[in-house]
Symmetry: C2
Subunit: 301 residues, 2 copies
């Protein structure tokens, strides 16, 4: 049996869905149902249910976007840095293997030699190596709290996307923002990400950190071009002049824009598709379905 913490959240619902479709028994729990943030409650729950594997898809992302974390510091620190530590301690006590949804947002740009950031590199968009958003700071602290954890997979996601209508979907966001920021990024097809996470465990990869993004990287204008080429939208896309204008007009805290190295996931047989293939595939599915939902309230993430 799989247990999924935070199963009503964006990520958690995909884990629940994919596992169910595979015919796996799984128990998704929300904090309201079982307060897994309380060490004793989590310990009793897991003692009783003895899952084969636990997935921590709970975390604090800020609504409508990471700017909110700047004024909700306590909840953000607790959800992203303390909670993973509590889960670690309970899982280690019970000998349960588990995986933690982490993020590549603890980096900025590329390494000075031009390569993407590998699992070995220290974060450079964190409290310890600023500037950073409070959100990114707490995600980096979360990984620090998990350093040396037993039987723990740390799955780094970056900018989720697929063909579905959700305000968290990157492609949807691009279509709805009035202005876009040109930047280079690694991005993660959400369904492939979830499959790779699960495969890391079922294929018995060594526990540890894995960068799980599609191979290669994108720039915003490249994706806009693909959107146009795939006939998803003929709208005019406007761009901020530069990051300064973006920060002045649309953001409170700086965003991570970064490229991750995926060599480790390739070597472990859990790599995701090349980024252009994954994005175009999502766009085609969207177009078949009649385009993106437009009645979703979106704010800059």
């Amino acid at each position: 049996m799989y247990v999924i913490l935070g199963s009503t959240g964006y990520l958690g619902s995909y884990f629940l869905d994919h596992l169910s479709r595979k015919g796996e028994t799984c128990r998704g729990i929300s904090r309201r149902e079982v307060d897994y943030t309380d060490r004793g409650t989590l310990l009793s729950f897991l003692r009783e249910h003895r899952p084969r594997f636990l997935i921590n898809a709970a975390g604090y992302t800020g609504k409508p976007n990471v700017d909110a974390c700047e004024s909700e510091k306590e909840e953000c620190l607790f959800g992203n840095a303390v909670l993973p530590g509590r889960i670690r301690s309970v899982c280690e006590e019970l000998g349960i293997s588990w995986g933690h949804v982490s993020s590549g947002c603890i980096y900025s740009g590329r390494k000075s030699n031009g390569e993407g950031w590998s699992e070995e590199d220290e974060p450079n968009f964190s409290f310890r190596s600023g500037p950073c958003s409070f959100y990114s700071g707490t995600k980096a602290l979360g990984e620090e709290v998990l350093k040396g954890a037993s039987n723990c997979y740390i799955w780094r996601l970056r900018i989720p996307f697929n063909e579905e209508g959700s305000p968290r979907n990157y492609l949807q966001k691009l279509l709805h923002y009035s202005n876009l920021l040109e930047a280079e990024n690694s991005i993660s097809h959400i369904d492939e990400y979830v499959e790779s996470c699960l495969a890391s465990f079922t294929n018995e990869c060594e526990p540890g950190i894995y960068n799980l993004t599609n191979l290669g990287s994108i720039t915003t204008s490249q994706v806009v071009k693909w959107i146009q080429e795939e006939g998803v939208s003929d709208q005019k896309f406007n761009f901020f002049k530069n990051e300064e204008e973006f920060m002045n007009k649309a953001a409170i805290t700086p965003r991570s824009n970064c490229v991750l190295d995926t060599a480790k996931s390739e070597q472990n047989g859990i790599a995701m598709r090349p980024v252009e293939e994954a994005v175009r595939d999502s766009l085609r599915k969207m177009r078949k379905r009649g385009g993106f939902s437009t009645n979703i309230q979106l704010k800059i993430d």
Copy 2:
């Protein structure tokens, strides 16, 4: 009525003691008795008891010393950075004034112009401005979480001492360590610190941060000289050659050694005695009582 969170801890017990001696009604609570780390529990407790003032003397210091925090990151982050945020949120909801025991250990050395660090200065021994210990990092985050809090006093303590036998007493430590590290520091006479904290509220000082250390600073060798001059001990004191030897032989994580500026507490009428007067007074009381307890197990803090 005063409520003291963490009243069975070192600091908390002094608050309880001083308030009781003043004839104030106070209710000290330990986490075991009322789990004040749980937002709902704290809210109900304070709704019922409606204190005039709340003191947060709870925090995670690491036993036997701050090195322990390097391997107990979750508890340390929770106790020092998340908990203050929860207390803030509950106190703001109920309109309760409160004070938080903070620490000057978020600084290192003096400012580049030779002055001590004031309440306005950003920490330079923190996650955001390293190097730092994990403990100091969490204390600085705790102050960040409290930025802009309503009716909240942040009382910065540094290296507590007095005449009593306790392994937390700086003077006691000096007498028991086999080797000392020469360093310049601000230090706080614990009873005076508690009196100044309470006075900040009863004298209606403006809420905010206060550096509450004795006026001036000490060096380790100066205090050793005073110990000898006051006849408290004629033992031979050994010093590490330098900080490098100290780090190699006796410590896991770097220690904060720093000087705080006390101008704000002086201007607000809550200043403490000059440091030499306070230390010599403690030493004389110790000698009268027949010297320091020697049957206390001490490790380097």
